[in-house]
């Protein structure tokens, strides 16, 4: 029916045909077609096309008054005057079931808003025949998945300093006692890493008692009121021996220590043990302990932006030598290296207060995931030392847990 023209134009066409003496056979065909067109209701698109014809006729008539008969021009003028009201009425037409069967309701300018037609989503559905969709509908990663959160998940490192990893054993407050220890069953202090725990260690400054994991489940507390004995060593330390007996409870400490002029212990390291003779149970291990440096000294070190080098053997396996450098400043950092006849590795990270903790991304390549190095800066500006522990998974070696006191 799209080939039909309006019945008004059809009348003009018949008159013109008669005038031009068209053959009767052709005339009958034209009449039959005209009747068929008259039998069907006028369609919005037909009217629009007629209006378009009239617009062209009028446009041509405006430039050439002889291009169309005056009557045709008058009709077109009348038609164009009612265009607006006719289009509004057609837009509101709801096709009946019969008219939907007779014509496609989804053709034309009003089809996009019709509830009887597919919306724009129909174009996104893959064709049942498996036709390749247009290129602009193919999957693409050239966009931000969550553009509203892009700033959150892609922060600019220059804007915010990196957050240091969580401390494995908690933070050490400036100016307080800090220490770490390994714990194994038995009296030798040695054992496989998988059976070795690492815990906080504390020691009375007069050496009278010690404790592990104080205030936590599984706390180990030595007998009290032990009396230390001291003896000389060939290095910067003294040897201290503690032995305590309280009923069936036994405690022992064998340590390298540095004491102040008042006789109080400033730093200590090496072997501890505690057990019960009645139950034949005992725990033991190695420790490193000291008084952490004050916040005032930390601030002074960061202001001067100096570096400090600390070295020394580890306690559980003294064949391992450690070297740690603290780089003070506005964003203090540290680097460290541990060497043993059987292995070596490096680590680095940030210094926060008196604590330093490893950055998982700054271990050497032979260190596996879930490895940690943590420590604390001890002493004062003139006599600094480091208490630290390593809990690392070394490729080809296995897990290593140890503690160490390093001096400047």
């Amino acid at each position: 029916m799209n080939s039909c023209i309006s019945y008004k134009n059809m009348g003009k066409f018949l008159i013109n045909a008669l005038i031009r003496n068209i053959k009767m056979k052709n005339l009958l065909l034209i009449l039959f077609t005209a009747m068929a067109c008259l039998a069907s209701p006028a369609h919005a698109s037909d009217i629009v096309q007629s209006e378009r014809d009239c617009a062209e006729i009028l446009e041509q008539w405006a430039t050439d008054p002889d291009s169309a008969p005056k009557k045709l021009v008058d009709e077109c003028m009348g038609m164009m005057a009612g265009v607006t009201s006719a289009e509004d009425e057609l837009a509101n037409i709801v096709p009946s079931a019969g008219s939907q069967q007779a014509g496609d309701p989804c053709v034309g300018s009003g089809s996009a808003g019709s509830v009887h037609c597919w919306g724009p989503w129909s174009a996104l559905s893959p064709a049942a025949s498996g036709v390749t969709p247009p290129a602009d509908q193919l999957p693409s990663d050239d966009f931000e998945v969550r553009p509203e959160l892009a700033a959150l998940y892609d922060p600019d490192p220059a804007d915010d300093p990196p957050t240091p990893p969580d401390l494995l054993l908690g933070s050490c407050a400036p100016g307080t006692s800090c220490g770490f220890a390994t714990i194994v069953d038995g009296i030798t202090g040695q054992g496989p890493a998988e059976d070795t725990e690492i815990a906080i260690f504390d020691l009375a400054s007069d050496g009278s008692q010690f404790s592990l994991a104080p205030g936590e489940t599984g706390e180990i507390a030595s007998v009290g009121n032990m009396s230390p004995t001291f003896s000389n060593r060939p290095d910067e330390f003294e040897n201290m021996s503690l032995n305590g007996i309280d009923g069936n409870e036994r405690s022992r400490l064998i340590a390298r220590v540095i004491r102040d002029t008042g006789g109080d212990i400033i730093t200590a390291a090496d072997a501890w043990a505690h057990g019960n003779t009645a139950t034949s149970t005992a725990d033991s291990g190695f420790f490193t302990w000291g008084n952490s440096i004050s916040q005032t000294d930390v601030n002074a070190l960061n202001s001067s932006a100096v570096s400090a080098l600390f070295t020394g053997p580890m306690s559980a396996d003294n064949a391992t030598n450690a070297t740690v450098t603290l780089n003070f400043g506005s964003n203090p950092t540290w680097t460290g290296e541990w060497t043993n006849p059987g292995y070596s590795f490096t680590a680095a990270g940030v210094v926060t207060g008196v604590d330093f903790i490893s950055d998982p991304t700054q271990f050497s390549a032979n260190i596996g995931a879930n490895s940690f190095v943590q420590g604390a800066l001890l002493g004062d500006i003139a006599n600094k030392s480091i208490a630290h522990f390593i809990d690392v998974d070394i490729s080809g070696v296995g897990r290593i847990k140890d503690v160490g006191l390093l001096v400047e």
């Binding site: 069953d185 038995g186 009296i187 390298r256 005992a282 580890m314 003294n318």
Partner: protein, 190 residues
């Protein structure tokens, strides 16, 4: 003897409970007498020797190193008495046994830690048994001190000393000398 039995009982109990009682080291502490047999009333020496070369091999800077420990030596006072220096020595008793104990520090990895003087007071045919144990019968007292303090558990070996009579040649010589002296005396008076 009582100490040794007590130590053995503790080690046995610890082994039953699965507690690790010793390292893999083969360090040893032994008593070595100047002679395996002594005459009645004679003085003799017993050395406390230590060999921790195995520990030194495992520990950097441990040779000659510096080692510390504490021992108890027990013996029957009816057979022998301690007659050496009492410097650093603590005397005591355990049951009927006499004990001497002492600490040491800074000892090398291999060698004599201390020489101890005794005098045999028993009778001919007696055997003097010297027992040796760690003074700390629960944790142990032996430590390698360099470069860090590392406890280790050595083995302990005592020693037996026999009290023997003077040899036959000695009696013959004494009788000969007596005979000569007797003849000289008779010749003077005649």
């Amino acid at each position: 003897m009582y100490n040794r039995l007590r130590m053995a009982a503790i080690i046995f109990a610890l082994s039953l409970t699965g507690i690790q009682t010793t390292t893999a080291y083969a360090a040893s502490v032994t008593l070595v007498p100047s002679s395996a047999a002594v005459n009645v009333s004679n003085a003799f020496t017993i050395n406390l020797n230590m060999d921790t070369a195995d520990v030194a091999a495992e520990t950097p800077a441990a040779h000659p190193g510096s080692y510390a420990g504490s021992v108890i030596i027990d013996f029957d006072p009816a057979l022998v008495t301690y007659s050496g220096s009492m410097s650093g020595i603590t005397a005591g008793t355990i049951g009927s046994m006499q004990t001497i104990s002492f600490d040491f520090s800074g000892a090398p990895d291999v060698g004599t830690v201390r020489a101890l003087d005794f005098t045999a007071v028993g009778t001919v045919g007696n055997t003097i048994n010297f027992g040796l144990t760690d003074a700390d019968d629960f944790f142990g007292s032996f430590t390698s001190q360099l470069p860090t303090n590392t406890p280790f558990t050595p083995s302990f070996t005592g020693v037996d000393v026999q009290i023997i009579p003077l040899p036959a040649a000695g009696w013959l010589m004494l009788s000969g000398l007596g005979a000569i002296g007797f003849r000289v005396r008779r010749h003077r008076y005649s």
